[in-house]
Subunit: 227 residues, 2 copies
DNA sequence: CCATGTATACCGTCCAGTGAATATACTCAA
DNA sequence: TTGAGTATATTCACTGGACGGTATACATGG
């Protein structure tokens, strides 16, 4: 056989993506992923050193498509900046009504692996969210919002909050509420940008408060189920 | 022996609470909980029918204390409504700096068990968040905010968003950002309440002087690890 | 002596990861 | 052109252990 490496590898990632997103990391066995990909576990272990590696690959594969989707939703919404921001939430609410929707894979993985702070998958999730936040910031600053960094974080908080809340209540209307709040905050920031005078200097003290944390986690070799 | 039922039962719940919160549901075995409680697994199964029951009891035990804590933080913060709302987030940021902090147990459990929509623990988590949202709504309405329901949902979204984001980045400063956003939205709602009719933009009526702009799941018996 | 509660030992299953062998494509010398 | 050798890719069968849950027996207070 010897199908080109990438084919098999990507089939595995595709299978892992569906299963991990649907049933969680610890709820899916490596055998299950292999079976869904139509091959043996041993083959899977030829392409990935460990389950943790596979989990990281699963999230890495979702990074850019996810980001691009949000950017498309933003770009395709007609109107001013507040409309476009709210458009993200509207589209998200629509997709959250799909029966297979189960929240944000990055956040759910980070919640499940919260006791492994240095896990590669968590790093990838954190980088993904940072990318999103950064894209928002740049977009807002380009629109003349001085405190674009703060607004970006606020929007991010509302977005991830709606992921969590809608997952818990299975009620996508919370995303519309989040969208309204995001719109309000955007309008507020725009108003402040127009009249920049009365703004107290409080603002963004530490631009990027890097969280401390010893990030202890034993690397590839070894069990992943229990720390 | 025959220690009164409640003693043993509560020791088990206390042990489960620490372990489940720290390492997640699927990451903690029933044996581990029993060991931590200083007894045998068989004894644990005398007090709880299944692991799922135990998980539900773990969250149920956290319901009221958690709620009371938020209410205390709100009550103990000096100032007006926006200050008190922001106070919740400030206190939360402080507690999130504790090394053992790992986000919100309710949200993390719902994320981990997202593929079991009817799981009793998820129902308890949903009820808990509803209680919190309801308390906010009542509080806001008592303060004369007509759209107290909407504001309550917005604050809830920011709160749960900060749980998720801070857990991912291990950077509690996001909670301060969420607190600022919550303050802004509260001031906005207050301004709307003060001038309920047509006072579109301008209107610096807010105390701060801030301007305004525009499932299915099989019950107890049986395995819980895989659906 | 019965109800309550606790312990020992066990069952069947699942799971992450591995050893050894096999099949296929590609390389290069005769 | 061919045939041996090698790197790539895949499979079968297995290990050692953990896990949820249970059968059975033992203790102790009413």
């Amino acid at each position: 056989m010897a199908r080109p490496v990438t084919d098999t590898r990507e089939r595995i990632i595709a299978a892992a993506s569906k299963l991990f997103y649907s049933d969680g990391i610890r709820g899916v066995s490596v055998d299950a992923v292999a079976a869904r990909a139509g091959l043996t576990k041993r083959t899977l272990y030829y392409h990935f050193r460990s389950k943790d590696d596979l989990v990281a690959a699963y999230l890495a594969a979702r990074d850019q498509p996810n980001l691009a989707l949000f950017q498309r939703w933003f770009a395709e919404t007609e109107g001013g900046l507040p409309d476009k921001v709210e458009g993200i939430f509207r589209n998200l609410a629509r997709s959250a009504r799909h029966p297979k929707w189960k929240g944000c894979g990055f956040l759910r993985t980070s919640a499940e692996l919260a006791n492994m702070p240095g896990h590669p998958a968590i790093k990838i999730g954190a980088a993904h969210k940072k990318k999103f936040e950064n894209w928002l910031r740049v977009t807002f600053e380009a629109a003349g919002i001085g405190e674009g960094s703060r607004l970006a974080r606020q929007i991010l908080l509302l977005l991830d909050g709606s992921f969590a809340v809608v997952l818990l209540h299975r009620d996508p209307s919370y995303m519309e509420t989040a969208g309204e709040a995001a719109r309000s905050l955007t309008e507020l920031a725009l108003a402040d940008a127009v009249s920049p005078l009365e703004t107290p200097p409080s603002a963004t003290a530490a631009p990027d408060g890097r969280g401390r944390g010893p990030a202890r986690w034993r690397s590839p070799r070894g069990r992943s189920r229990r720390g």
